[in-house]
Amino acid sequence: MRLTSLRARLGVGLLLSLVALFAGLWFIVDVSVHRLLEAQLADRLAHDGENLLGGLQFDHHGHPVLDRKRIQGIYQQPLSGHYFVVASAGARLRSRSLWDADLPLPLLATGETRLLHVTGPKRQPLLLWVRAFHKQGHEIRIGVAEELVNLEAGVQAFHFRLLGWALGVIGLLLLLQQYLVWRSLRSVALAAADVKRLEEGDITQLREDVPDEIRPLVAAINTLLARQDRRLHHSREALGNLAHALKTPLTLLLQLGHERIPDSEDRRQLDEYGRRIREQLDTALRRARLAGESLGSRRFRLDTDLPDLLDTLQRLHHERHVTLEQAITPPDGLLPLEQQDGMELLGNLLDNAWKWARSRIRLRIQAATDEVRIRIEDDGPGIPPDQRHQLLRRGHRQDENVPGHGLGLAVIQALVSDLGGRLELGESETLGGLQVEVRLRRNGAPSSRIQ
């Protein structure tokens, strides 16, 4: 999991904080349990010590003597882990359990008590309780000790249980957190899916019912998209107005010329100039109008835009009785082109076919993984192979020397090139006329241009 993912970051963050929390907890619990158990043990040792004090007598030499009955059996077994030492000025009494060993008792003032960690006869850790008393005129110190081994074993078991618990709780919390994160990020995932659909041209705006945290982002994208769309719309409108403003006077100029200049070389020249102006104008306007790969613009829809276009073509070529066969298969029903770009491309392609077909046109649109292919065939005169090559090699120049399709195809080629597609000319195998194939890159794939 990459740490750029919010989910991974939150997971790792939670894991680290939980581990820190449990480590702290562990430390505090460990210290407290030790203290508690030692305090309990010290109480017991003190009780045994008081008991020993109760059974302590002094003989006539002033030596301490213990009443056997008051000594618990555990102190009689050698190395039992329970030990005592009674020290007075003249003598030292040791429990039988100590065997040959001794316990170091610090010098204390009467009434003073001390708890010490010392090493026992088996080199095991002991807790030693020592207190100084004054009895029957004698200063005595009583030390009672017990092994810490049993205590440590108990604490160890407790530690294992605590660790098990900690791991369990951490695991559960992580799962819970991942679930919560997944739930809250689902709307983010939906927004991401929206962005993908936007790229594919399926939608033109992102949904704004997203969490507060990303709503400003989504809103900003939508604002940008709307602005871009408006700009495209305005510039297309301005270009339409420009075309209107230039072409109406051009019409008048050419018509006046025809009227005033007799049929001569001058008139042919006038026509030629007029043609050039119109072509330059058309090329520049067409280029400027293309939306290209702008994000969030509506795509050309094969289920609604295409029928409108075909109906329009049929009505514009009303006098020509042409049958159109269609095979439209892209599953998403979209061309990888902005709607008006698609209109322009298919309009020009089909219009050209309509002009030259004798009676039949075949339109096929197929989608592959990385491209969409548009193939248009007709049963018209076609173009000989050498001229096809020539036509494509000349690039953007509009060539009227190629008979028939020449001019229309030059416009189409420029258009396909501007849209980042590829154009191939051939002969229709089944209809015998021209076959024009246009390949358009689908989204995300880098565009390759022909020059």
């Binding site: 339409g240 075309a243 209107h244 403003a245 050419l254 007029g274 709607q339 008006q340 209109m343 322009e344």
Partner: protein, 222 residues
Amino acid sequence: MRLLIVEDDTDLATRLQGVLRQHGFAVDVCHNGVDGEFQGQEFPYDAIVLDLGLPDSPGLEVLGRWRAGGLRTPVLILTARDTWQQKVEGLQGGADDYLTKPFHEAELVARLQALIRRSRDQADPVLRVQGLELDEDTQSVRRGARRWDLTATEFRLLRYFMHHPGRILSKSRLTDHVYEMDADKDSNVIEVYVNRLRRKLGNDIITTRRGQGYVFGESGCD
């Protein structure tokens, strides 16, 4: 045949008016969308030439309101807006044909004639009724080997008759379709032209129905 041109460029509109008149049309001109919309609805035109880039009311909106109001007159859009999107919008918006500027006058005339023929379900480009053949290019009429030249008004009147054979056509209806808006519309003038056509083509070619109008050809046929 009476046409309406809605075109904001006065020079172009005047030129077109002249050209179309030469081809035997009565032509009214409007220079803005509001007037154009009103006139298109008010008068019985046989076809309308509509520019899209009008100053006050866009051509497509004018067209939309005509069609929404039930106006069936064929409309040819004549515009500098030449994208396929605009063509599709125009034709789906109710236009019948679309011609982009710059254009040849001859093409406009040919398309208008085709449009009017289509609107009358006339497949043959040459109008033939009652053994008469109307030649729109030379504004003359033939029967067999005989040929008569016609004046502009005679041509317009005969063409309208030939488009509506066997139907009673009132003087005012004929006036509406033969004359332009600001022409001196004395319906008695129609009588004069009907008589001239009778003298050229024979008396029985047009029958008078008293109080109703005229019938071209045999009453009740076709």
